[in-house]
Amino acid sequence: MTKFGIAQSVRRVEDPRLLKGHGTYTDDITLPGMLYGVVLRSPHAAANILAIDTSAAAATPGVLAVLTGADLDIGPLPCIVSLTNRDGSKQYTPPYPALAGDAVHHVGAPVAFVVAETVQAARDAAEAIIVDYDILPSVTDLATALDPDVPQVWDAAPGNICFDWQTGQQEQTDALFAQAAHVTRLTVVNNRIVVASMEARAALAEYDAATQRWTLRTNTQGGWLLKDLLGKAVFGTGPESFRIITPDVGGGFGMKLFLYPEQVLTCFAARRLGRPVKWTSDRSEAFLADTHGRDNITLGELALDADGKFLALRSRNVANMGSALSNFAPFIPTMAGSGVLASVYGFQAIYANVIGVFTNTVPVDAYRGAGRPEANYLVERLIDRAARELNIDRAELRRRNMVGPEAMPHTTPTGKVYDSGEFRLVFDAALKTAGWAGFEGRRAEAAARGRRRGIGLAYYLEATGGGPTERAEIRFAEDGFVDVYVGTQSTGQGHETAYVQLTVDRLGVPGERVRIRQGDTDTIPEGGGTGGARSLYSEGQAILATAATVIENGRRAASEALEAAPVDIVFEAGRFAIAGTDRGIGILELAATQRARAAAGEAAATLDAAEVAEIKSHTFPNGCHIAEVEVDPETGQVALLRYSVTDDVGKAVNPMIVRGQVHGGVAQGFGQAVLERTVFDPVSGQLLSGSFMDYALPRADDLPDIEVELIEVPCATNPLGVKGAGEAGAVGSPPALINAILDALAPLGVAHIDMPATPERVWTAVRAAA
């Protein structure tokens, strides 16, 4: 076995750098002559701007520019999704300028941008700006935003409705509900999440007047989208006028996919002032200015026949978009979320209606799973409710309705085609791993101590997604290294390691000699970035295709070097050889020879190659999460005691990294289910949970060990057999946790609780049921 082989838990290539403090995150970069930008943000959720007086700010020592909306002769930030409503009209896309024009629509909206020699001077100047606001009533709560007589965020969007979209088979679904033996109904809340990557956003722009090009260093999940949006929609100078460099990124979770106002502002100011301009978000700003996640209220209905077989699913999902539309926002609850409503079960029909709603809040967009956790949460909560109503064992009800492996490929009513899946096999393994059968003893033992113990499960299915192509380029560098240029963007997932493993597997070179190059749109002409758990299977296919071309190039070169016909050359373990002989040449030596000959003017082709792989199918990772909790009915405190995940993410290239991804996803799901509550003041529209002192991120002592078992059912639609693993942990965990809490509270008569199940909520539910 090689040191960097596939299916091994290879220790990460990126770790020594990051562990020694030698990582380079955007804010770590200082350029000569660099200036600092600070954003003045709206303190009001809704207001008209009557006047802005920047004179005192502009007079502050060290200040070079004080920009307001009136200064920006550029386009607004675009939304790249345009939905068609049920009535055939289009969604309403409101203006989304980088700096407010004559009105602000959420607390934290950018109003002015101050650029100064030091960040302190810029801050002092921002405080000296006087804005005359005419404060208006606001609406921040999704539950009331559609009510009559609430404040309207946009005049052009009556009723605060952004879109009214549908999918599925409405008539057939209604007919199945009419003939159903039983219908279970449930309304669930998917609470609003502050993404809170530990590294906040930052942008450092410089402009070269001679070439009329920007270089923007910023933490993204792929710079190519930004290059395109900045060049086309915002500045109109063309994508080629932007070079986006993404340094090390400290977590993204979807939130760093998008173009943000501050990236536009640093570029604008850098061009105007002729000096580099850096903006770094502080944490308080991040709470107000990063896109939030989730925020749906969903009515779900499940129709069953007399045998407990699922007939149809119907949902009406109300989804908060915030005050404007971030790049992908309307896509998340619609195509992304509704697409997986069938999960692993055999429905005859599905119908989903999604209403996008404007509120006076920061825009909402993708957060780890992006629509699919919300859909899975609805389905798995509904099934537990139905099992209870019908007095059928909840595990048995699921098993009875799972699609079997003999049905693969399976087309769902929402049009997804599952290539593979052994749902019952994975399910049974999960129950065994979690000690499901012996649980009642543990419940009784806890009850004797005055604690309510519960066990809950969720079987999730996720549909990974993203760009339809991906590119790789392999170059044999002069210093003897093999450089692999990729179009995805790691924000902590360990891509550098997994891609080295793939390269070593195909080219047989030592792993220490492979370098993964990412994050520069000038050296990498195209890339789909990282999102939707797409990277390994998308970039993996591109690396495989490129490696195959490298080997073909090598075969031709070797046939010359070894003086044999190309068909007689075999490639094995990093060496080209004449079949049946011991005559051969190593790939690194051959590449070096070819490069040297080409440099000397000989007609020698290098081994270098680039290929773009077409990603024809996405993947459907799935698995079972089982949570065991204890609730103290006196305090409402929920303690998570055991957690296990049995996952089918296809072939695991690096099981250690896969498990790490699942751990992190589970922790984020735990945060959503139990801790993280985003609260706006209903009158002022202020974000009350605006810091880590108010907004509860999971801490080490909130969580137990998380057991992750991998059952590999190879994906049939990519040659690696891999399925995307990055989001899965966050998809399965919220329903497993809430189902466990409800199982614990069922003896007390509690039938429903919404996320997050904070002690106050649990305590109140227990008291209300008594």
Binding site: D15, P16, G21, E199, T491, G664, Q668, F692, M693
Partner: protein, 165 residues
Amino acid sequence: MPQVSLTVNGKHATVEVEARTLLVELLRGNLGLTGTHVGCDTSQCGACVVHVDGQSVKSCTMLAVQADGASVTTIEGLAAADGTLHPMQAMFREFHALQCGFCTPGMVMSAIDLVRSHPEGLTEAQIRHGLEGNLCRCTGYHNIVKAIAAAWPLMQDRQPAIAAE
């Protein structure tokens, strides 16, 4: 402007700073030691933890002038001159205790102080409790806890009690 003299990773430095300058700003800005990170502005996340005279300190919560005369160790000062990782760094790598790496410097500095302050041994519960001042959004802490447990005996010059995958 006030002058601050201090020793950072064994090297002496004297810098002039505005009185309101935080220790983390001195380290990152004046000294260019960007391994120490800033993850919040309410002293909650612990990404900025360094050692001041051997004690872990959130460097965003200490004025630079308060560190006058002190000896400061940052993440850059942990590995040996030949690049050999400190046992805590090595176990973080061995147990995959970092993903994006942003919380990692503070996490490692806190973990070292946690181990040093518990020569009698560390239970899993003590480790989890001891990390209360450090936030990580990537790992779910599972592997961080394992790494610290494995580093404890190494830092007592013993063999690790548990093996990585």
